[in-house]
Subunit: 390 residues, 2 copies
């Protein structure tokens, strides 16, 4: 399925969103609200980091109900490492949104993203939510702005499945190797789907998209990915819906990767012929995570021996040197475990492209996987050497 | 044991070295030779990368004999990913050194370091070795220059053990997460020690020093660490020798870390109270490997919440949030799993220091470990975006 994405993106029937500045950032939007007119079937997955943020702890409980009607999100402060007080503040944030929308508090998921370990100024959020209901509208890019941290642009896509719509709003540029989802990623559809089916499809789609994304190997404490289905467009073909969901998840993953902190291009590692799918995933991740591969892509430097290094450093995987082949955007660079014959100047031009796709055939089995990352540039350093202070 | 290191460093009795330019680099030394007057008991450990260089493959065979008399090393080209032809070239390199020194070829270990995947111009090395015997001398810094790649300075230390001397010459600044030793590291002693004892001590010392070093998470294909003991100073107390060896290995590890590509400071992560030594090692490594911790150290940005992130992202380790404590160079920054009270401006001053030591107490067991790394700066990017081409 070659999914077509709406331009501009839109929200499904019955969904709306709003954003405002509540004083966490100087003037940019820092608070966003997503709302469904009626309660929706829902599923969510969260970070595996063992220091989960307070909203993640509360969210894990909430999602057990399989129903949500709203999501409230702030940026700038993450409410992580804040103890029992932080958990109570997360609940207050959910209650404030529920009061504004006149819905039950247990139908409101909350997220906070930004600096770790400082208290969340909850009064600012409570004040900011007052009256926000009157500003609800249907352009997802508006709320996508309110959840940005170091993102360079708001991220929202949508696609059609039969008569239904599927929309994804996401943010995240650094501290990204999700192992579940990336950062904050909200999906809305007016298709009619049960919560357990949503959960199954969300996990499956994330395993080949968001979970294969790495900007910098650092797993956030706040990763949250939720999907809400309010049923207003009726039933859809489930296989067709899953295909659209997977395609949309891959698209948003590529958008997040390309906007990685300091990144100038998307880096894709495609591994086939591995002894198992798990080994394919490990090697694909190792390639997009290697600082030396990332800087090679950045500098368009044809130092392709680094691909052998990045494959070989996975000590537990089955590697038969003489069977390994690789190409970059179609140009063979490794044959029989050795550097292939190619023209340096020509490969330099290939490496200047975007995306840079490194395709590896290990030649030992049928396991395959694709991982998504970005190049590593001076911009990543500049951004992260003073994130807290700036 | 607070080891004392000689200033300047020297080689033990009976060892000498030489270096020259053989034409691999424009004019700097690129070929080095280490020599013992008599055959020495020897042990060596090599990279675990599954694409080992040809010299590593040959070296693994050679070291089974437990005896070496010389080491020949070139920089600029690594002879990795070069197939059967590369293995024959590695052997030719050893034979050429043996002929020059008039010793048996099986007593010569060879190493090559530099770009991966291009053929090693063996004729240049053979020509360069001719007459090099006449230049053998006892200053280890001379040969240390000949094995440098992106190192900013030559690395050699020495210390006394009873009447014996222990010297270490090393190189390595990038593609460093050894899992065995780092890069190229040669140790020489005139103490009398058997090969199997050397092997045991080398592995034990490397496990708490070189194997706990990471500059950039990328494991080289050429890592080689060898120790030669020619016995000319007679027997030494074994416990005393081991203590000196471990202290010297830690010292050279810190020297390598601080000279990591683009680095401006040493980063040390010390973990205690872990459920096991292995979990302590995993968490200590995760801290020195985290790009967000490394950039925090670089920018002296008091964004200490990232320490919780770097601990928590180790999904399989035992973490009890409320027991976790951490300090940076003695200033408490995490208490009870939460950000501690501290003055931002004061911590900023602490972070400007060198080294930056992040000490973590997990409070769940008695496992401990120390890992060594460096900050991540724009210099790493600049250097690696054009290494092959420059």
């Amino acid at each position: 399925v070659a999914a077509r994405f709406h331009e501009p993106p839109r929200l499904p029937i019955g969904f709306s969103c709003a954003t405002t500045n509540c004083g966490l950032k100087p003037s940019e939007p820092d608070l966003a609200l997503f709302y469904s007119e009626t309660p929706a079937a829902a599923a969510a997955i969260f970070t595996r980091n063992q220091f989960p943020g307070a909203p993640v702890m509360v969210g894990r409980e909430l999602i057990k109900g399989g129903r949500l009607q709203a999501i409230v999100v702030n940026s700038r402060v993450s409410n992580v490492g804040t103890g029992a007080a932080g958990v109570e503040i997360a609940r207050r944030m959910g209650r404030a949104a529920a009061a504004e929308l006149n819905i039950a508090p247990e139908l409101v998921l909350m997220s906070s993203t930004g600096v770790i370990g400082v208290p969340l100024p909850i009064e600012k959020i409570e004040n900011g939510l007052r009256g926000l209901r009157s500003q609800l509208q249907t352009d997802p890019l508006i709320a996508a702005r309110g959840i940005m941290t170091t993102d360079r642009h708001p991220k929202a896509i949508s696609t059609s499945v039969g008569s239904a719509t599927l929309s994804i709003i996401a943010k995240g540029a650094g501290m990204i190797e999700p192992n579940m989802a990336t950062m904050l990623c909200y999906m809305f559809t007016d298709a009619e789907l049960a919560a357990d089916k949503l959960d199954e499809m969300l996990r499956r789609a994330a395993s080949v998209s968001l979970n294969m994304l790495s900007v910098d190997t650092d797993t956030s404490t706040s990763d949250t990915c939720a999907i809400l289905a309010n049923g207003k467009a009726g039933r859809v073909d489930e296989a067709e819906f899953y295909a659209a969901l997977e395609a949309a998840c891959i698209r948003i993953t590529e958008i997040l990767a390309r906007d990685g902190e300091g990144a100038t291009k998307l880096l894709r590692a495609s591994v086939v012929g591995a002894a198992s799918p798990e080994e394919a995933r490990i090697i694909a991740k190792a390639i997009v995570n290697s600082p030396l591969i990332k800087t090679m892509a950045h500098g368009a430097d044809p130092n392709v021996g680094r691909i052998l290094m990045a494959i070989g450093k996975n000590f537990e995987c089955t590697i038969v040197n003489e069977r390994v082949r690789a190409n970059i955007n179609g140009t063979p660079v490794v044959e029989g475990g050795m550097r292939a014959q190619f023209d340096d100047a020509q490969l330099r031009e290939v490496l200047k492209g975007d995306p840079v796709e490194i395709a590896v055939d290990l030649g030992v089995g049928v396991g395959s996987a694709i991982a998504y990352g970005c190049d590593l540039t001076e911009g990543y350093i500049t951004e992260n050497a003073s994130y807290y202070s700036s």
